[in-house]
Amino acid sequence: MSTATVAELTEVAAPEPFWTRQRRLGLGLIIFGGLAAVLFGALAPSEAARFTLSEDAEGAALSINGQFGAILFGVLTVAAGGVLFAGLAKRRQTLLLTLGILSFVLSFLCWQVAGKFLPLVDTSSGTLQLALPLILGALAGVLGERSGVVNVAIEGQFLMGAFAGALVGTMAGSVWAGLISAAVGGVIIAAILAVLAIRYLVDQVVVGMVLNLFALGITGFLYERLMQPDAAGYNTPPQMPTWSVPGLSDIPVIGPVLFQANLLVWVALLLVVVIHFGLTRTRWGLRTRAVGEHPTAADTVGVRVRGLRYMNVLLGGVVAGLGGAYFTLVATGSFSKNMTAGAGFIALAALIFGRYSPFGALGAALFFGFAQKLATYLSAVGSPVPSQFLNMLPYVATIIAVAGLVGRVRAPAADGLPYIKG
């Protein structure tokens, strides 16, 4: 369709109300940008904020005066908001919104880092590490929810995956055995969820919440009975090796972050692409979306609704189980009670905030991972901003997103509804 036709169509269409989504977004950015410029600018000391390219204070760095930077980026946020508000760039809405949020974050950083330094490599690789389970968990959610099965048991799948990974990894002495059994652990919870939700028509949210408690109980019980008395025999899993790609890992900042990592990072990033491609371009994806939006119609044209839902929930279990493996095989090196501590629910938040799409989930997971990383950085440098408030960010952002204060998130139409063949 040519642009001329679109322009004609908009002219014919009914006049839009004044407060369009774009205007509200723009106004929000203007308010936040103004606050940033005034508040952060006033609070920031007029000292250099250094963003070093290495892992410590040494070496090349991007340096900017903290006060100047805080005001500059605040004003940039206001500018992005202004353009949105004026409706000057209707086509570039997402870009402008991203720019606005990014410069707001930069303004905040200039204030916090002024007189100190922030190692970029450490921050980005930490962000990616913290986001890793969130990406995998959110992808598990995408698989289930796009086919119409709500999965609030991501937390339980994480715990089961982490536990199974540690237990079998230690007993077999192999990290790969651990990884596979972590996936199996996730599948066990997914299978219970699938059978109860699809076969026995129990409310999916109820099953999910109860399964979380079940996983918490059973991993905690076995931890105290097996792992605590004999940690050497059951709870010292081997760690995932860090591999580096020769050549590519020498690129500054990006190299050490992306090409000097463990297998799980690449698997997660690859899965984002694969699931996105699968959902949008393959027969499986079309059927999954059809089942998630209108199962009766899908059934009429011969799609096996329940079979597809079983398959997707179980695949989701594999992915979430791998996410659980992160906790014991990558992050800590041993299992402990309730070690996921709500990460499954942040993954759920990332899924919703990312609008039930793989790339959206990736972006949201990275954003939430960055907020967590920033929280640890700020408490390490003794910032006045309490880390608890930064840790609230994913949850607050999700409430704002689902409440439609900035653009409503729409779940698949048949999400959470059991399918009964009529």
Partner: protein
């Protein structure tokens, strides 16, 4: 697990009774769910014990060894669970023969009631919201807010004895009501799904609490760890003292159950919320404001959960810590599901969970079986109850006329 043979020609009173007993009515399903959970729990106890497991390695040669050891392990574990929940027969006989005190004999029951009291409130909170078609996963966050407001009021004002307690309880109620009102109004105004908003609000509440207890004026000045000042004596719920920790909270819980039962079945608002829960479109057509009902219902449910938090702080904990609310909100979810969202059934479900928890403590210290087993048992019972068709299939029960999914929910 043999199927009861059906003989339609034989219709005596006894056979009629037996057949009804063996049909999948809710009492039978509940009982069998508990039995299944206990059996699975027993299997878990055995497979996680290396000594007993070692005996199973020569099972074919001497099966008696393994079976005796397993039986011993399971029976001591479960008898400790019972003793911890209801009382030790030895302590009772010591009391009656005059060698022991009545306090020692009744201590387990006191523990059961102590653990049950907050669960009644959170359970009622979830159950009430369920009846209006809302799934209040946020009972945990609302209870945390109730803990915060009740606790802060409890140590801030030096009011006289009854007044201070009353104000602290009301503060807890209002704190929870506020935290419930947010998802309610969001659902009413924007249609934001309450499951998602309440999950998020749970975490916001607990992060806020973990920040708050470290602040000046809240934190105990004599301590460096995360604990607040103690609630004033006059704001604490009165109890027997000593080993009998049970406090006034359980009587308040009883009163709350009466109140919720009245609200649900006798009041105009109760009728409205049940109508909205059954069919929001029909209720709207009949002139009931669905939006107003959602907002009000969530505020009331939040207030109940907030009272649960207040009872926890003023009755048992007496000071705020990051984990002061424990798991009472999520346990309340299970309690409501077990009680099939009816007020009195929820009350008794909370008593059962309190008993399991109190017994679990004794099982942990006497048999070395982790308290987590109780969580597993609770979750399993509820899973089976939520899927009566599953229990029916396992025991090959006859279909009952009133057999339906244990949880029916109007979903938006």
């Amino acid at each position: 697990m043999t199927a009861e043979p059906r003989k339609p020609d034989e219709d005596s009173f006894v056979s009629h009774f037996v057949r009804n007993l063996w049909s999948a009515n809710s009492v039978t399903v509940t009982f069998l769910s508990a039995v299944l959970a206990v059996v699975i729990g027993a299997v878990l106890i055995v497979v996680s014990d290396s000594e007993v497991l070692a005996k199973f390695s020569y099972f074919t040669a001497r099966p008696g060894d393994a079976l005796t050891a397993s039986w011993e392990l399971i029976s001591t574990a479960y008898s400790n669970l019972l003793k911890g929940a209801l009382g030790d027969p030895e302590a009772y006989s010591a009391w009656f023969s005059g060698t022991g005190t009545w306090q020692d004999a009744l201590a387990p029951i006191s523990e059961t009631l102590t653990y049950a009291a907050p669960l009644v409130f959170t359970g009622l909170s979830v159950a009430l919201a369920f009846r209006g078609g809302l799934f209040n996963i946020g009972a945990q966050g609302q209870a945390v807010l109730g803990c915060i407001t009740a606790g802060v009021v409890g140590f801030s004002f030096g009011l006289p004895i009854v007044l201070n307690l009353l104000i602290a309880l009301i503060a807890g109620l209002l704190g929870g009501a506020l935290w419930g009102f947010i998802p309610g109004i969001l659902k009413a105004r924007t249609g934001a799904h309450e499951v998602i908003t309440t999950i998020m609000l749970n975490y916001i509440a607990s992060l806020f609490l973990s920040w708050l207890v470290l602040q000046k004026g809240i934190q105990d000045p004599d301590r460096t760890d995360a604990i607040s000042k103690a609630v004033a004596e006059s704001a604490q719920l009165p109890s027997f003292g000593g080993v009998l920790r049970v406090h006034l909270g359980i009587l308040l819980a009883l009163a709350a159950t009466f109140g919720v039962a009245w609200l649900l079945n006798r009041s105009a608002f109760g009728f409205e919320l049940r109508a909205v829960g059954a069919n929001p479109h029909a209720a709207e057509t009949a002139g009931i404001s669905v939006a107003r009902t959602y907002a009000l219902l969530m505020a009331v449910a939040g207030g109940l959960a907030g009272l649960g938090g207040a009872v926890q702080v003023l009755g048992t904990a007496h000071a705020l810590t990051p984990a002061v609310a424990g798991n009472i909100g999520f346990d309340g979810l299970l309690v409501a599901l077990l009680g099939r969202n009816k007020p009195w059934s929820t009350f008794f479900a909370a008593l059962l969970f309190g008993a399991l928890r109190a017994g679990g403590n004794r099982m942990q210290s006497f048999s070395g079986i982790s308290l987590e087993l109780v969580t597993v048992l609770q979750a399993l019972i509820v899973i089976f109850i939520a899927a009566p068709a599953l229990v029916k299939a396992i025991f090959r029960l006859r279909a009952s006329r009133n057999l339906r999914s244990g949880v029916t929910l109007a979903k938006g």
